[in-house]
Amino acid sequence: MDSNSPMSPGQPAGSFAGMGRGPGLFSSYRGARAALISTISTIVVLAALAAVFLLAAGAHAFEHTFLSPTDMWRSFIGNPKQGYYSVGAAIWLNIRMFLVAEVLILALALFIALIRQSTGPALFPIRILATGYVDFFRGVPLILVIFALGFGVPALSLPFISTQPDAVYGVMALVLSYSAYVSEVYRAGLNSVHQSQVSAARSLGLSQGTALRYVVLPQAVRNIIPPLLNDFISLQKDTALVGTLGVIEANKAASIYSETVFNFSSFTVAAILFLILTIPLARFTDRLIERDRRRRLAGGA
């Protein structure tokens, strides 16, 4: 057997054939034999995992506390008369917080990245501020930022600003914290565009702004889509932290259920809902990476 070929169908099932050749889970398995081997291997692994759970001494208690179908259904539907909220309805708040935060993060992070990339001596103080901002919000745990804004801003008793719903402070905290990370992603993207592209654009008479808008940014953003989406998958989950302010989002709703009924199956429901949100985005990221890889390969041919 040609051991150099990662595609050899006869390889043992345990070797991760085709790893790193793109994200399609099965795209690298060629032929029926490979499909058969992968199916058997998957069944064996899942069966082993199931055995661990089913044969454990506390298996029954675990199943009752975390996987009770009745409790899962009840917490999903919710029943305010019994004192708990619908986890299924609460996830909408997570989705809304995520969508709003995402747009604001994309804008704020780009702004910060551009300031940090600027070279003009007049912008020096703003550059220092931007660097300080990134250092600060990357260093402080997100949950502390959420507390600081969620409890601190209302305490200021400012008109309008201090009277917003808690979810707004949660989103502000997410935006502040994630923009620090995402601005670094942007910066990596901007740096990945070769200086000669700027030279070419400027030599055609394009102003710095026009060159940035039409030549540098499109290339930069293309290069950073995978890490950007990675951060957004993380952001989707972190909307759950806003629940610490008392906002009824999915995790908080699940927590209220478990405290009311003394059953943790509501958290399983929240976990499943978050997975339903993040997995499509993860697969979408994979597809973009694969498409980009193919385009580059085609270009090299």
Partner: protein, 266 residues
């Protein structure tokens, strides 16, 4: 087309009356850190003249071109283009660069844009040419240089020679008065060099004022009105090609040309 001579329509480089001064450089100095790359360059290029800069790598040819295009700030000296001192303070570099096209060794096409968009970007964004007109002009130019069938391709689908021709067309789309060519064939496979040199020869025939840094000595001999030999940031010798290549005055020029001949490049 408003009766104005357009690049796509006919001749190139309508740079005032023949014999007028297109580029004038006085005692130009440029350092990168401690490394002084240009040590007092003085030269002049007349309108419709083609000047070739030759010299070893690191002699300052590319830096000189980048200074003329204001891509590099200069340390001291003066550069005038078409009678305007472009190194004076408060000169709008963007305005100056519209009059000069520069083509780089590494093509530097915009990889995320089609050939057509590469060519029309600057006219539409800088000159505010209406898009249909810019497209017409781009098509005319691409047609003229045999690139019309590549109009919707992305640069990475093109050969090096095709990419470099697109880069030349992209510069011409701005209807420059002067073209600067920075070793435009150095990154090409040998069999692709000719197609690019043909384009340049056609530009010269059309009267385009050009300052060309090149390692193609045969090409320089054929196309240049004058050849300048640079070494260590100075112009050592400047003469018509017939004279410089056959009867170089300076010992350093002779040594350089001898090495070139030994490398079978002349």
């Amino acid at each position: 087309m408003n009766g104005q001579p357009r690049a796509g329509a006919g001749s190139f480089g309508q740079a005032g009356p023949a014999g007028g001064e297109a580029i004038r450089i006085d005692d130009l100095h440029k350092s990168f850190g401690a490394n002084e790359v240009l040590r007092g360059i003085t030269m002049s290029v007349a309108s419709h003249e083609v000047i070739c800069l030759i010299g070893a790598s690191g002699s300052g040819k590319s830096t000189l071109l980048r200074c003329v295009n204001l891509l590099e700030p200069i340390d001291s000296g003066r550069i005038s283009l078409l009678g305007q001192d472009v190194t004076a303070p408060n000169v709008d570099a963007n305005l100056v660069r519209r009059q000069i096209g520069i083509v780089f060794q590494s093509f530097n096409l915009f990889p995320h844009m089609t050939v057509l968009r590469n060519v029309t970007l600057a006219p539409t964004k800088v000159l505010k040419t209406p898009r249909p007109q810019a497209v017409d002009e781009a098509r005319a130019l691409l047609d003229r240089f045999g690139l019309l069938d590549k109009i919707d391709d992305y640069p990475d689908r093109l050969s090096g020679g095709q990419q470099q021709r697109v880069a030349i067309v992209r510069a011409l789309a701005m209807q420059p008065q002067i073209m600067l060519l920075d070793e435009v064939t150095s990154a090409l496979d040998p069999e692709l060099v000719a197609e690019v040199l043909e384009v340049i020869t056609e530009l010269a025939a059309g009267g385009m004022t050009m300052l060309i840094a090149t390692h193609e000595m045969g090409f320089a001999r054929d196309i240049a009105n004058r050849v300048c030999f640079l070494e260590e940031g100075r112009i050592i010798e400047e003469a018509p090609p017939a004279e410089l290549f056959t009867n170089p005055k300076d010992e350093r020029t002779r040594r350089f040309l001898r090495r070139i001949v030994e490398a079978k490049r002349l």
